[in-house]
Symmetry: C2
Subunit: 548 residues, 2 copies
């Protein structure tokens, strides 16, 4: 009997491949790895976030044996509720990741019947036919893991998001030994993080941030505000350590910061003595030079603490001219402009702002080229599937592996939806399943598609003009004058003349033509008229009423 | 008699300070430096470009003695026509800059009565009371200059956009001697480019691009497409040199590339033998390995050659799987996302794509920190006004100058519109003039203001719902059912139920209330209804007709 196929399927549509969700399928058994969200691009107007399209799994729900979450970042956890709404399978996560999932699931009422299993790096769990070994990796969040998955077709190693940090904040380096042991055992395929594949060298250790913080604390005369991601528990630890050294107390600002810090302290991932932490109200009444505030807003989001501070709209406290603000973060691609604007506004408000490259107050959580080469040398896989990166990063990762001697036919550079199959030790790039990504807008999941997006784009670019004409249904004559409503096109006070002219055009067309398909005639005529007059293309809608 | 004040005024609103336009004012005399445009940010929907607000000059038109253009980039030349429409003053520019201005002014009919004066680096020109000495600087375009302006109040040195390149493509380094000579003469104030003020070190020479190009040409099997800015004449030269070495011919693609190359060859700034250049049609019929195409599209603009190629919509030729595409450029801030998307699509199309950081196929045209320090040491100014950068860059530039011993009170970190005054050798930061920037959208200049932008933002985010209700003017009764039109809000086929429910709400409100201010009641009610149902906030418009 021929052996069954092992299928690896990255789900999602655009952006990074295999990042937010993957399926591992063998016969009647499916394992899901991660359930994350994507952030909308600048031209995805009005979209809150994007979830992977997992339509493929919907008629195979009962085959899903488990859901593994590799670490607690949004792009790996954010779609968990959407997945659990459809698929009932046990979740496996490390303690901190589980803690972050629970905080997330509690909001809006925890779904029933969720089985959350806690695993530790080093554990092995049997999930259907898959023997999953969890191993520790360093990343910009503690308790992150990679996976060794023993399948009937062979051993698959999944790096998760990783870097090789010899001096991480929690003292727990990536598990070199386990990776080498996999290599000795024989690895059918390595799925590896490609985020920084176009960056040469080795990502600096998180330890380089400590001296940078030291310098900031030495020089700051007033308050220090450190902005970071609410999930960056190790950064909280570094801030706490520095605050203790310089005799400042620390306060967390914002719900997600407060909740995550509380949970991380409870679970022992954040070691801060009680006396070092004070509530915000307390901190605001202390001497400025004795305080550090930790908040969100590193991406320049207008609704974040930093965003509101920058435009003078923060509720509980304002910006002081002696404030030192540290952006301990990297820009998520697409946010560069918003971040620059926020930094400039904070400077306008009189604050001093410290950000990379001014000082190394942040390092990447992902491996660079030399680390990627090391991973391949340790694991010595027969096949490589670059994941966690845009197509360009995957291509670079493949080129790097080529330099190491891996034949290009043993490397699969794929896109989301492409199925990679393994049978009898051979790799084959299979079909691409239909589907892509699903927009979440308000409470709507998937109802905003390309048509609505095109309308938003057109409306956002040039606005609209709406024309209403009433006809007497007996005489067929126009009643009154055409009504025009316009928004987002021209400033109406300035455009009286333009609208009067448009009205004259409409009346002329009607007088020449009577009815027929007068609506589309008027629409086309006005589109041309407005374009000639303004070189803009507002959407034009014409509707008529028959009255009397 | 007290001496008059010398005023320096950077014009514009947001973004980089003093970049696009500056005024130098002494008594009844004004000198304009540069007339450039800004590019819209991602959330400035529908805006084509932005020009500085020069309202300040409009009642002083007859005092403007001259307009100096430091180099031929859009952000220094792009608003020339708008300025000439209002202000009639002679222009001074170097040969290449003049050539680029003429290409620009020819489009849409050259304005009458323009006086274009050609200057050379080393020339000194008297413009009213201002003695202007032009000196050569290296930048990412040839024939760029900085200015030494002898005013009755003292000598002002303006760096223009510059870097210190010891091995520029045209063999003409920045004029160290002149800068040192200014320093010996005594400089009241230095206005210096701050673009890269947060980047340590020294910007690499343009010469580093040659070996990178060599590697690309060695390895490419098919066509090579090099994308760059149409004004980057020195890059054209480097491509031509490499093409000649590797036995390829070169073709310029796109109107701006063709026109600029032609002009630059005519003026002697681009030295390429005739036989090396072939028309596109010719190139497309040659063996792929014998051809280099030079085109635009480095910013991922959908309408550019590269943008169209990436989505398979280029008219005259398509993408080949053996194409090698080089992005010889840097991302203009805010374009990162569009560029990544274009690169990924080109990879999807089977091409190989080379971009920084994969290979050093581009270098910055602006000085980094060590060069900025050198400039200050050469010029030894009494005062420093950092310009050409966002506020955060100016702050860094000021900090660097502080490290060199310049007292902070001798440094003016200002924003656009802030007047810096000099009198009796003393610097004073004066008032800020009102105004900011002017949006250009289609043929409209300045008619799109904050109100229209807010409408576009709202329409782009959540679309709109328009309600029309006809009332019988005699009975006051509603005629027929309310008509609803919606765009950009929900996919209408999916939302039949929502619209029916909305219609029921409207009818209920009308039956309860009769007329009165029913329109605003319905509007508020529907806004709440739609938000509750969808968590979105479409614009809601209600209008009524009285019929019969």
């Amino acid at each position: 009997m021929a052996s069954k196929k092992l299928k690896l399927i990255p789900l999602g549509g655009l952006g990074e491949i295999g990042k937010n969700m993957m399926a591992v399928e063998y016969g009647d058994n499916i394992l899901i790895i991660d359930t994350g969200v994507m952030f909308p691009e600048n031209d995805m107007l009005g979209i809150d976030y994007i979830i992977p399209d997992f339509e493929y799994l919907l008629d195979k729900k009962d085959k899903v044996r488990g859901i593994i979450i590799t670490h607690g970042h949004e792009d790996h956890t954010g779609a968990i509720r959407h997945v659990l709404d459809e698929i009932n399978a046990p979740i496996y996560a490390t303690r901190l990741t589980r803690g972050l999932l629970e905080v997330k699931l509690k909001r809006g009422g925890k779904p029933k019947n969720v089985t959350l299993n806690t695993v530790r790096a080093g554990d092995e769990v049997q999930v259907g036919p898959f023997g999953v070994e969890f191993f520790h990796v360093c990343h910009s969040i503690p308790d992150a893991v990679g996976l060794g998955i023993t399948t009937p077709a062979g051993l698959i190693v999944h790096s998760g998001d990783y870097k090789f940090d010899h001096t991480p904040v929690d003292g727990w380096p990536t598990d070199f030994g386990k990776l080498a042991e996999f290599g000795t055992r024989g690895v059918l395929a390595l799925l590896a993080d490609s985020t920084n594949a176009d960056e040469p060298g080795w990502t600096p250790s998180e330890a380089v941030i400590d001296p940078a913080f030291d310098k900031v604390f030495q020089q700051a005369e007033g308050r220090i505000l450190i902005a970071s991601f609410a999930s960056l528990i190790s950064r909280m630890q570094q801030v706490a350590n520095t605050a203790a050294r310089y005799g400042r107390v620390m306060s967390f600002v914002g719900a997600s910061m407060i909740e995550n810090a509380k949970m991380a302290r409870k679970l022992g991932y954040l070691n801060v003595p009680d006396e070092l932490i004070v509530p915000l109200d307390h901190a605001l009444n202390m001497k400025a030079s004795k305080v550090v505030l930790m908040c969100t807003g590193t991406q320049g989001e207008p609704s974040s603490i930093l965003g509101r501070l920058s435009i003078g709209k923060n509720r509980r406290f304002g910006l002081h001219s002696k404030d030192t603000i540290v952006l301990s973060s990297h820009p998520i691609p697409g946010n560069e402009e918003m971040i620059s604007r926020t930094i400039n506004r904070l400077y306008q408000g009189g604050a001093d702002v410290i950000y990379d490259p001014i000082a190394p107050v942040h390092v990447s959580g992902h491996a660079k080229q030399e680390e990627m080469k090391l991973l391949i040398q340790l694991v010595r896989p027969e096949h490589l599937i670059p994941i966690h990166g845009e197509l360009r990063h995957l291509k670079q990762h493949a080129a790097l592996a080529g330099e190491l001697g891996l034949p290009q036919e043993n490397i699969a550079v794929i896109e989301n939806g492409t199925i990679v199959e393994f049978q009898n030790g051979k790799m084959k790039v299979g079909d691409r399943i239909p589907g892509g990504y699903v927009f979440v807008d308000g409470s709507g999941v998937g109802d905003v598609g390309p048509d609505v997006m095109r309308e938003r784009e057109a409306l956002g670019r040039d606005g609209f003009v709406l024309v209403h004409i009433a006809f007497d249904c007996k005489s067929g004559k126009m009643q009154g004058r055409p009504q025009l409503i316009t928004k987002g096109f021209v400033f109406v006070q300035d455009a009286e003349e333009l609208m009067t002219e448009a009205r004259n055009h409409i009346e002329k067309l009607i007088s020449e033509d009577k009815r027929g398909d007068i609506e589309s005639k008027i629409q086309k005529h006005l589109e041309n008229f407005f374009y000639t007059a303004t070189k803009r293309r507002p959407m034009v809608f014409v509707f008529t009423s028959d009255v009397n």
